[in-house]
């Protein structure tokens, strides 16, 4: 597709025209237009809706584009999955678009084996040559071409299939996602006869139980569940229910930290606990245990290493709180994940939750992902030399799969490896031909995460580099081979495939998709049929709900793509004796045998976003560490190892060895060592390469039965301390609560007893005597209400703040020196579950009430600001509307303001921090780029206030409540942050601030902050009481 044609296509789409600007030959002009596009006003951002493709959740996204450059992405308010919010990964899509280490043009191996730039003409010719070579020769045997691509739906998915069928006889194709939910699909198939990834309707549950599913982080659709969870908590605070949320698992994840109670169960005990609970629930509800897994609760509890009394209380509570909801096990599951999930499903069945909170017939697109067995089969075929051409699109199996599978070696045996990747990742490094795809923000596309929700992607900027959409490449190569796939380019193909008329198409692109299903409850029967049908027959075989006890023998055959019959891949089997093997094969002295627990990262997902500077620089919500990996061990274990924080631990299994610094925390069980997935790349850009470790190196590659999923947790690992220390950069020094804590909590009972007027915390301005009136005299008084009960600690707001306010990324070394520049941080208080002296094994395995509070800390815009009077040059002053304004070009850098800021939210430009090109194109033109030697801090997104004021003035109306949204508020999936005018008695911010839970942080210092925090509310266990 040439440029003229591209513009023509854009012209057709009229109102959604993407903009000309950063053309691939790298024009560096301040104003990229010679003749501006009609819908562009210089200095005003245009918004283009598209879809976030950072994970399979498929949230809707809006890109703000100014003068041809995308400077901010936000959630699409129209999209039913995320409703305008976005997580950190989504925010970082901009750094994907403008990544300095993107592959900038097609590459091919030269005779000396190095990747050299070639032209697209040459590149497509080589692809055709590779196709021809793969299928030349005497044999007509199929399976010589294989495609590994990420999960796609709709037009692109269909195009890949049609193209493969057109150009290669009997190709293999895998929709490859490292987190494929195989145990869950298998369990659903076994219990309900339908192998789907289900939906969870948190809103209607009266009690939540998670057996490890990190539904606020990486599990299926984290934004959707974060929104629902936050609304559920809100309903609880409003007295609509008293449901508790209990988290069960060997490690307290971020999702667990949002629970009311953590039961630190042994790794692998989930099935036993679920069975015991099922028995109790069934007995409570006067029904026979719902098949399988029945047993004496006491025996099961003992096997699970738990007190039966705790389980009985929990079971009774769960049964009483109908409908309740039990989430399955997490993504990186252990050996009996299917059995555990099956037991959990039966628990949901026994409690009457299926179809009420546990929704089977609104399946997620993840249902169609490839199984580990299929991947293994492909690897075996490659190893056997059966595969002649491997095409890799947005997948990185070499990184994700354990090295013991020898994937790299297998790929090395494939004569032609073609990668469509934008980055030189571990798999692409083995490619013979690289045909870089556009990034999602440059592409047309569609994605349907659930039936009835089809998001549309449109290019929001001109391609940054000389890349080409893979869809176009496929169509063009097919055309050259004389196969007409019905469209000249992918845009046309997609439009044809969607079958919309002109008006419908324009409306859909403008809206960001076709949303016939708002949410699962909104689906009426007919629409649901239609929606399910729309997903395609392959995705949902056996979609009708089978009777619960009925097992469908065909249920495991739901994989939609015809599986090639390759020789069986010999999966490594876990040797039951390997406990002894480890010890006999020279595990180092002083080694301790622990259980490995892996978990996916909220920031890096499976590792695909590890190349984003923001994801590396923003501290992990629980560990608060940046730029690296760590091994979480319990203080008790640390004592046994003689290890302290930062001591490098040597983790050894039969498969491999890792050296990783220790993080001592009582948020794991004593016999567990927990590691995060997603780091430790050997390639994949300057930011990811060499940062942290990749724990899949420890995996044996064994598969879980009966689902066949890769076992990622629960396996033994030998841990010893090495004499080396490697400092883990942790950006939070302490979680201690001092005095009257700045992050407060109350119990639900206390909240009920608090009068609605006046509040629980006496920190109101009028209650403190003063000569002065600290109420801004202007027309408005900007303020904010932050609800700690809603905040889930996901740090999406921090990423949004980095993007909106041009906050520089300083790198590991500078972070280690305390030079991190974040204007907004999510402090993590009350996380120490037990006092230092009592971190014993008994204490560590007993249920903990969770007192963790996430405290978003940003400039409090104090009306009596300590920073203002100490500045000698008036560089920080108070506005008439209550803003504490930082005048960068007046600042001389005494740093006195930071010293005197009790909230420590001011940041100093220690050095000149760089935005390596083209990352600088992301910079928000509304916000100054600060130079070395000046102080900076949160401005309450003053540029957004100005914009709203200009709009209101132009339209001759007052500024509406809710019209101004700060970047952090805008992206918050939990709706925890509300900005508004405190002079308006009806503004949402003011009403919230005046509520019973409101208090000012450190208000006893007489700072008169403009931010009101609302205390977190913890639901206590109520013995014998009925919830609801």
């Amino acid at each position: 597709m040439n440029r003229r044609r591209f513009l023509k296509v854009l012209g057709v789409s009229g109102a959604v025209a993407a903009v000309e600007g950063c053309s691939s030959n790298r024009d560096e002009r301040l104003i990229p237009y010679l003749i501006p596009a009609e819908d562009q006003t210089p200095g005003v951002s245009s918004e283009y809706s598209t879809v976030c493709r950072e994970c399979p959740a498929g949230c809707g996204m809006v890109a703000r584009v100014r003068d041809g450059r995308a400077h901010k992405v936000e959630g699409n308010p129209e999209h039913p999955i995320n409703r305008g919010t976005l997580c950190l990964r989504g925010q970082s899509a901009l750094q994907d678009l403008y990544h300095p280490d993107r592959i900038r043009q097609p590459l091919a191996r030269d005779p000396r084996g190095r990747l050299q730039p070639i032209s697209w003409e040459e590149a497509e010719r080589r692809l055709l040559d590779a196709l021809a070579a793969a299928h030349s020769g005497r044999t007509t045997r199929g399976g010589r071409t294989a495609w590994i691509g990420r999960l796609e739906t709709g037009a692109f998915d269909r195009l890949v299939g049609e193209w493969l069928d057109a150009v290669a006889p009997a190709p293999t194709r895998l929709r490859y996602e490292p987190f494929a939910y195989e145990p869950l699909r298998e369990a659903n198939a076994r219990v309900f006869g339908t192998a789907v990834v289900p939906d969870m309707r948190i809103s209607e549950a009266r009690m939540l139980l998670s057996f490890g599913a990190d539904f606020l982080e990486t599990w299926v659709s984290n934004i959707q569940y974060s929104r629902a969870f936050s609304a559920w908590r809100q309903a609880r605070v409003q007295g609509k229910h008293r449901g508790r949320y209990v988290f069960i698992g060997p490690r307290l994840s971020l999702t667990g930290a949002n629970a009311d109670q953590w039961i630190p169960a042994r790794s692998g005990a989930e099935a036993l606990i679920a069975r015991a609970l099922t028995a109790i629930v069934a007995a409570e509800r006067g029904a026979a245990p719902a098949g399988g897994g029945a047993g004496e609760p006491a025996a099961l509890a003992e096997a699970a290493g738990m007190s039966v009394e705790i389980l009985e209380r929990l079971g009774r509570e769960f049964a009483a709180a109908a409908p309740s909801l039990a989430f399955p096990v997490g993504n990186a599951a252990g050996e009996d994940a299917t059995a555990a999930n099956e037991a959990i499903l039966r628990l949901n069945l026994a409690a009457g939750n299926v179809d009420r909170t546990y929704i089977l017939d609104w399946p997620h697109a993840l249902t169609a992902t490839a199984r580990y067995a299929e991947i293994g089969a492909l690897v075996a075929a490659m190893q056997a030399g059966d595969v002649r051409l491997l095409l890799v699109h947005e997948a990185n199996p070499v990184y994700h799969l354990p090295p013991v599978l020898r994937v790299a070696e297998a790929i090395g045996r494939v004569p032609s490896v073609v990668s469509f990747s934008s980055y030189l990742d571990e798999t692409t490094a083995l490619a013979s031909l690289v045909l870089p795809d556009h990034r999602p923000l440059e592409s047309w596309g569609e994605y349907t995460p659930r039936p009835g929700i089809t998001g549309l992607l449109q290019p929001v900027v001109m391609p940054v580099f000389d890349t080409r959409p893979t869809g176009d490449v496929l169509l063009s190569t097919a055309a050259r081979l004389g196969r007409d796939l019905g469209a000249p380019d992918f845009h046309a193909y997609m439009r044809r495939s969607l079958g919309l008329d002109e008006v419908g198409w324009l409306a859909a692109v403008q809206r960001g998709g076709i949303f016939t299903a708002e949410d699962a409850p909104a689906l009426d029967a007919g629409l649901r049929e239609q929606a399910v049908a729309g997903l395609g027959p392959d995705a949902l075989e056996g979609k009708r709900l089978a009777s619960p006890q009925e097992r469908s023998p065909a249920s495991s055959e739901t994989a939609p793509l015809p599986a090639r019959k390759y020789p069986e891949f010999a999966f490594p089997q876990r040797n039951p004796e390997d406990a002894q093997t480890l010890e006999s094969t020279g595990a180092p002295d002083g080694a301790v045998r622990l259980t490995l627990h892996l978990y996916p990262s909220l920031y890096f997902f499976d590792g695909r976003t590890a190349n984003r500077p923001w994801a590396q620089e923003i501290p992990d919500p629980m560990a608060k560490a940046v730029w690296g990996s760590w091994a979480e061990i319990h203080p008790e274990t640390a004592r046994r190892l003689g290890a302290a924080q930062d001591d490098v631990l040597v983790l050894t299994t039969d498969a491999g060895r890792l050296d990783v610094p220790a993080l001592v925390t009582d948020r794991v069980r004593p016999e567990v060592v927990a590691l995060q997935l997603g780091q430790g790349h050997t390639h994949y850009t300057r930011y990811a390469r060499g940062t942290g470790v990749n724990p899949v190196q420890l995996l044996s590659g064994a598969s879980e039965q009966p689902s066949g999923a890769l076992v990622m947790s629960g396996t033994p690992v030998s841990v010893s301390r090495s004499p080396v220390r490697r400092r883990l950069v942790v950006l939070q020094a302490s979680e201690r609560l001092v005095g009257e804590p700045v992050a407060r909590e109350m119990t639900l009972t206390e909240l009920v007893q608090t009068p609605a007027e006046g509040g629980a915390f006496a920190s109101r301005e009028e209650e403190r005597p003063s000569f002065y009136r600290y109420i801004p005299e202007g027309k408005h008084h900007w303020g904010m209400a932050i609800d700690l009960d809603r905040c889930i600690g996901c740090n999406a707001c921090v990423a949004a703040c980095y993007a909106e306010n041009n906050v520089p990324v300083v790198g590991r070394e500078e972070c280690a020196r305390g030079h991190n520049m974040a204007w907004l941080r999510i402090a993590n208080y009350g996380g120490e579950l037990s006092a230092a002296g009592e971190a014993t094994k008994e204490a560590a395995t007993a249920p903990h009430d969770i007192r963790i509070r996430f405290l978003p800390m940003l400039c409090q815009q104090c009306n009596n600001a300590p920073c203002e009077y100490v500045c000698p040059v008036n560089a920080t002053v108070h506005s008439k509307e209550g803003l504490n304004q930082m005048v960068y070009n007046r600042c001389v850098g005494t740093r006195f303001c930071s010293n005197n800021c009790p909230y420590k939210v001011r940041r100093f430009n220690w050095l000149t921090y760089e935005f390596p090109a083209p990352l600088d194109q992301q910079l928000n033109p509304d916000v100054i780029h600060r130079t070395k030697g000046v102080m900076e801090k949160c401005t309450f997104c003053i540029q957004r206030i100005r914009r709203a004021r200009i709009d209101a003035t132009t339209e001759g109306r007052p500024i509406r409540d809710g019209e101004i949204m700060t970047a952090c508020q805008q992206t918050c999936p939990a709706d925890a942050i509300v900005f508004g005018d405190l002079k308006d008695p009806n503004s949402r911010a003011r009403r919230l601030a005046e509520g019973p839970r409101g208090y000012g942080a450190l208000a006893d210092l007489n700072t008169y902050p403009n931010i009101t925090y609302m205390a977190r509310v913890r639901a206590e266990e109520i013995h014998g009481a009925k919830n609801g």
Partner: protein
Amino acid sequence: MAYSETRETVPAEPAARSETPSGDERVPYRRITEDILGRMGASGRGYLLGLGAAGGLTLLGAAAWGYQLWKGMGVTGMSHPIMWATYITSFVWWIGVAHAGTFISAILYLFRAPFRPAFSRSAEAMTVIAILISSAFPIIHLGRAWRFYWLLPYPNQRDLWVTFRSPLILDVFAVITDLTVALLFFWLGLVPDLAILRDRAKGWARTIYGVLSLGWEGTGRQWKHYRLAYSLLAGLAVPLVISAHSIASWDFALTVVPGWHSTLLPPFFVAGAIFSGLAMVLTLSIPLRAWLGLKDQITDAHLDWIARLLLTLSLLFAFFRGMEYFMVWYGGTEIEKINMLYKASGAFAPWFWIMIVCTVLAPLAFFRRSVRRSAPALLAVSIAINTGMWLDRFIIIAGSLARDYLPDAWSDSGYRMTLVDLGILLGSLGFFLFCFLLFVRYLPVLPVAETKREYLRERREEEALRGASGGG
């Protein structure tokens, strides 16, 4: 140290002593001028080596500052939340050192302390140099040092004014006032001596000394006015001893930072300043005495006086320190307790305990007369006090910042000095030494007229005593 107690180090006319009629071992009255002025113009290999070393250190500091200006403040060890460290410490410490000069010039003058002339000139020189250095530190410390003049309330087109409420602006005024008064005092004290130098000098030196001596002729009328002006200036300078360092302490006391926010700080800082300044006077005088052979002018008795003062001040200082901890306990604010305990047991603990030994325990040795009379012991203790006082400021400034109200923003590993911080600190010491060596070469290290007056006063007292006993 070249100094040796046993060595006789009065090179100038050793025979002179035998000539004294009274058998007194002191230089005779008529030779005082020669004795003092003869020690000027120091030169020789040792002197030049010292001057070169001091100059080299100064250049090192300048280079470090240049690098810091070029790269940004990130090359120092400062971080979030320890945004102030060695530079502000050095500022406070140098201005404290300077205070002893004003104290000796003004308060000891008004009280007619007999040992004052022995130290006044070098203390005043020290004051001027120390204020110059201390005024440089807040500028070195600025993130954008090239904009330092924005701290001055100068009229400008943009109508931008300074924040008069800011303690840093008060500092600007305090330092400028201090410098002005110190310079005037130094100069005024020098005028009669400068006139002597003018009368003896030739060529361009005569012109320079002539201009500086303001046409001094030593007439009775001039002396009368001179004495009056000097007393008045001394009276005016007395409040400065209190005010200037109180204002420096407001940089901390007027904030909300735990460990800083205390009404105790002004007297604590003033006492500490005089304490460290007097120690500095000893640190300078003892080698000077040995080197220039001024044992007759700076006698062991004089040193004893200073040591007694130091002992008093150290007890006062220890009292204030105790009060600081008492207030923390009595105030009952948890964060203040954490802050205090952190300073004594956290990353700053080694420095804290060195500080306690140097400033609280070491001066207790002065209870022994033998220590007060032993120059090496005095020198060792005075250097310990100087070091300890620098550390004291450092712990108050940087240590307190490490434990602010929000534990999540506490400092993880304290403050780590970099080569740039160290280079600038050493550079400031080098510059001080460089200037002081120049002072020793070009100006008399003792006030001629004052010394003579003191000599005569003592003689009169002796005679009065003798007359009284004779008459009886």
